[in-house]
Symmetry: D3
């Protein structure tokens, strides 16, 4: 199988591929953040990397090393910053990290870059990093950048399947049935199904309060139930997301 991970290629091989085929370079964007007692801290980087690798295999792409640290965890979508293990960056620092890396890919001759975000809180700081990089590079630099949260490729069908009792929304989908199923599919050795908690779904008012009301967050850090997670659901989700992403980069970068 062809190697897709950039950090495992030599620069000579990387240059050869860039020059030969104008491949899509995928940049997974993760975090180091609590994901309940049953999932590891690295879920967001692990899953965004897994999805990116699969999409790269299907499209002849290359996967750069993930951004392993992300923006600060928020109670309503990641549990919050009071959990040990959650290790986060200031927003501007994440934007600058993305900006620098994007500018470098442009220097390499990359024309098609896809940021695959696996951490809800990263989104706007990645948007800003992309905007700053494109401003630096100039409007006619030839680089185009796609950005997505990978779960946005879930169809309504697959959401209904994985959450037969109703889908709580992606914000509350933290360490819950989607992430747990995907981990059971991609990294089963890192999941402890026996430790999935029984907490009810978290319930937040239509505002945030700072310093956060940590008592609103389940003690486990799981925002809605992971009880129904299975490897089979994970396989289905993975297929839907990866094929959707592969199609998207084809359509976005090589419109018919």
């Amino acid at each position: 199988m062809t190697e897709v991970r950039m950090e495992r290629m030599s620069w000579v091989e990387y240059r050869r591929r860039i020059d030969a085929a104008e491949p899509v370079v995928f940049l997974p964007c993760g975090s180091l953040e609590q994901h309940g007692p049953h999932l590891p801290l690295g879920v967001d980087a692990l899953l965004s990397t897994a999805v990116a690798c699969e999409a790269a295999r299907r499209t002849g792409g290359i996967v750069a090393p993930a951004l392993s640290y992300g923006y600060k965890s928020q109670p309503r979508c990641g549990g919050g910053q009071h959990f040990p293990g959650t290790t986060s960056l200031d927003g501007d620092h994440l934007s600058q990290l993305a900006r620098d890396v994007i500018r470098e890919f442009a220097r390499h001759g990359v024309r098609k870059l896809a940021l695959i975000d696996g951490h809800y809180e990263n989104q706007w700081f990645l948007i800003e990093g992309i905007d700053l990089a494109l401003r630096d590079l100039g409007h006619d630099c030839g680089l185009r950048v796609l950005r997505t949260e990978y779960w946005d490729f879930c169809t309504e069908d697959v959401l209904r399947e994985v959450s037969p009792d109703g889908f709580p929304g992606f914000a509350l989908e933290h360490a819950a049935v989607i992430e747990t199923s995907l981990m059971l599919h991609f990294h089963p050795e890192l999941v402890r199904p026996d430790l999935i908690p029984d907490d009810d779904a978290a319930n937040f008012p239509p505002y945030d309060l700072y310093p956060p009301e940590t008592e609103r967050v389940p003690a486990s850090g799981v925002l809605s139930s992971a009880r129904g997670a299975t490897a089979a659901k994970g396989e289905h989700l993975a297929e839907v997301v990866c094929s959707g992403l592969a199609d998207a980069v084809r359509v976005a970068f090589d419109p018919p």
Copy 2:
């Protein structure tokens, strides 16, 4: 009627109120951004200020001058940066602006601060500004900060009423029925109902592309229909939102 706007009070009056009653200070956060041919560029600051003033009247609060400029407009929720008139800030600069102002309110002795966001794109940079300010001030500074997008106080009932054909989601609710109705209620002289466009709702894929695909955005800048907007709906929306917000600050800052 008691004056609620801080910029219209003397410092002596402001100090008197802060000392007497520990009032909530509301900080409206807006933008200068295209809102279609029928609404003015200042909608987000005008509406967040109007909502904040009404909530302040009901709770004995004070309203600080709005942040009149906001984060960069995105195609999928504000039309994008290619519109003339849209005048936006870099993300970090917005965060620093919020940080500075919050730190100042703490110096004044304010203990209850509510950021009322009227521009979808501001949210995460305000979160960061709040976090940086609280880090500066220290955990035991006594200041608590509530942050909300005012439309999150819309109940499902009122959404069903204003959008009888189905609510498209707040991201697409740009220059559409909610904002237009609220403007017809609060600032009818600034609305041109005759210019409401007939465009279909915008339709976005599950990813963003940069530089943006501006052809996806309706030429008018209106992301879903404003056709059904009325002053009566605006009055109802205003009542729901303002009473919700007034209740929220009572509950959040003075829990029973």
Copy 3:
């Protein structure tokens, strides 16, 4: 009367005016700062906006929303940062705010921009913001920027008239006869003449000391007497300043 305020125009109207006539865009730069017991905290934004609007009416210009928060108040020209209500920004943050906004106006096609400063302490951070924006835009961007403190259009004649006992200089003219007269002219409902204090003029040595010697500043925050302020003087001052400014933008941007 033609609308001059940008936040009250639609983007379509704004674009039409920019394209039609290369109008001057005025950006008022204010503060939220104590102005004694008789004037409101928002004086600097209110007066710079009022002056800008009048000059815009006379020259076919457009007035952008004011920068409502300004640089830190200094004892010798604004009373200092120890007053409740004074709400100030770090210098670099003000510069970046100006930089971003100026860059956006250039994107809109604006070629003539006038920053009308109403807060003495803003001056050098606005200069820096202009310089940074022009560096970003490149020397041949076509944008020219005029910057002024509006009171610099006061002639010696009018100063002699408003301060028959001798003009104390603009630094000490804080919440004093000029600002109070102008407020009596433009916003009489916000002035409390009955609360004008009787303090003597402040007296400062030829150096500043930090942390500031707050005992040098009159407890009222008024740096020299506002006793002689009248609406008639305000009207005269307004006429001199606004006509001077209108002439200046004509001469500066359209030299014969």
Copy 4:
């Protein structure tokens, strides 16, 4: 074997270990940088992680995810920024990344942190990141930070063994005999011995010139010969470095 990698632990497990035993947390600091035609772009993160994991196993430590991107490659120690694949950060952004992460570890209760640098160019920006974090945390925060380039644990004996014709210094040891031998030991599947180039060692004057004189850098990117590299040398080097590092953290953090 006990898991040492933080991203593969749950937050509950991580907290348990931090609370139980005050373990050393190792933070590998790498880069994405050309390492000749025979080694992959990720060498610096791969080796610093491998060394950190081994030292963690011997000392009951935990290894955080590597910083995968590092400071700009310099001709005299990494070949320079003109190679495709080399993907680098601005200096301040690397410092801020380290600063944020260090501050977070302190929040978790970590008292012993070891930055294991595998990229020569990172050194001073990591030093600055540590200094800024400790300034933020205050002098009495209880966190101590060790920083090292892992190769500094090479003894003169082992250097003589791996470079029998004389050791060229660590700056020129880029993609050369030490890194190649260590990769043959830790990640043999990523080494292409058949592609080791025959270039002579690079030769630099006692100054640097910018823009760089790229003709001074061997076209392969290898700064001194990797010809003598073997897995056996790699095993010996690994043992010397890992035992040296394990001893160092014991002595530094738990002095007798």
Copy 5:
């Protein structure tokens, strides 16, 4: 004569003096800026250093190395940035430089610091640097900072003497009679009286225009006449300024 210059003392001697007598540390703040054909580029650092040294001799103080580069030259007070030789810093960078240095003096145990500014354009960025440093250090750090433009110690008498035809104000006093006289007193070997130009005084409108109208600035860079400069005037000015400054630090730091 006792050495007053810090860079010429050993750290042991410096510590001895700080510990023994709580001396004032003077920090001269200069620029590298055109000063006409008859004065050298370093005038502002040379004069602020000379004044600081004399005041230090009279008060037992210490003079730190000057900040040799200052904020951007403005047409109306320094000729502008279009002159070769003028070498200026961004505003925030000057503020940060001052902030860092002030924080360091506080660490040394300095309690009395005097910034002696010799470059008109520096003022507000120094104010910001002082404010940021004191914020970092905390309100109760014990450090007090005096800041002055040294020429503000000129009395009306001495101004009348040096400018018998009327004093044009300090902004126009660039490379003119005061600076030239002081240079003839302190550094006669660096003055070329034969090259003093005959230009009329510059004349500026009540606003600035950017990019600057360089045609308003005399080609020589001299903003008002230096014709009347003499070493005797320089001696008198120096005495007035240095004794004023010496008195000021006594009064400010050791009030009776």
Copy 6:
């Protein structure tokens, strides 16, 4: 003798030289840092300036004012930040200072710039400053920048002569035989040979620890012996370094 110091030239003279001969501009980069009881705090700026002046005399160059403050002193090469008198900058601030100044020299028409570093800790922040300035200026700006630590021009012969018992490496060469000899040559009046301490050389492990282990640093601040320093050695060192530097700028900027 022709004046080489820029701050002592008028802008007219500076422009004449730049236009006439494309001279090398030398920028000395120093620090204010403890150098033992026998050397003054300003050694690094004094020596880098002295070397630059001599090289400028030999090559028709110009010497700009030194950067008088440098990056934070490290225990293993400068003694550390715990010494009174050591007055250091944050890394990014030093980089920005260099960036600004370099950009200005380019504006003046300078094509050949040489940064002569006299403070070991400055190196990487100067590299970053150069890179940022060249990025700002664009690849085809025509400016080339040489950067060196001046001691790197010492030949093995001269090192053997000055350190007959073996050269300890430049990191430990702090306030030791090379710097002391050079000061005896260039500034004998600032050396106190009677105070040269008898401390043994410092001995550091292959890692750094933060907060620093100050007990590893000799109390004097001298990292290896200055006992053998003489003016004659200084003269020889100066000749080797200055002729090496003069040759280097000829070769680098005017290759045959």
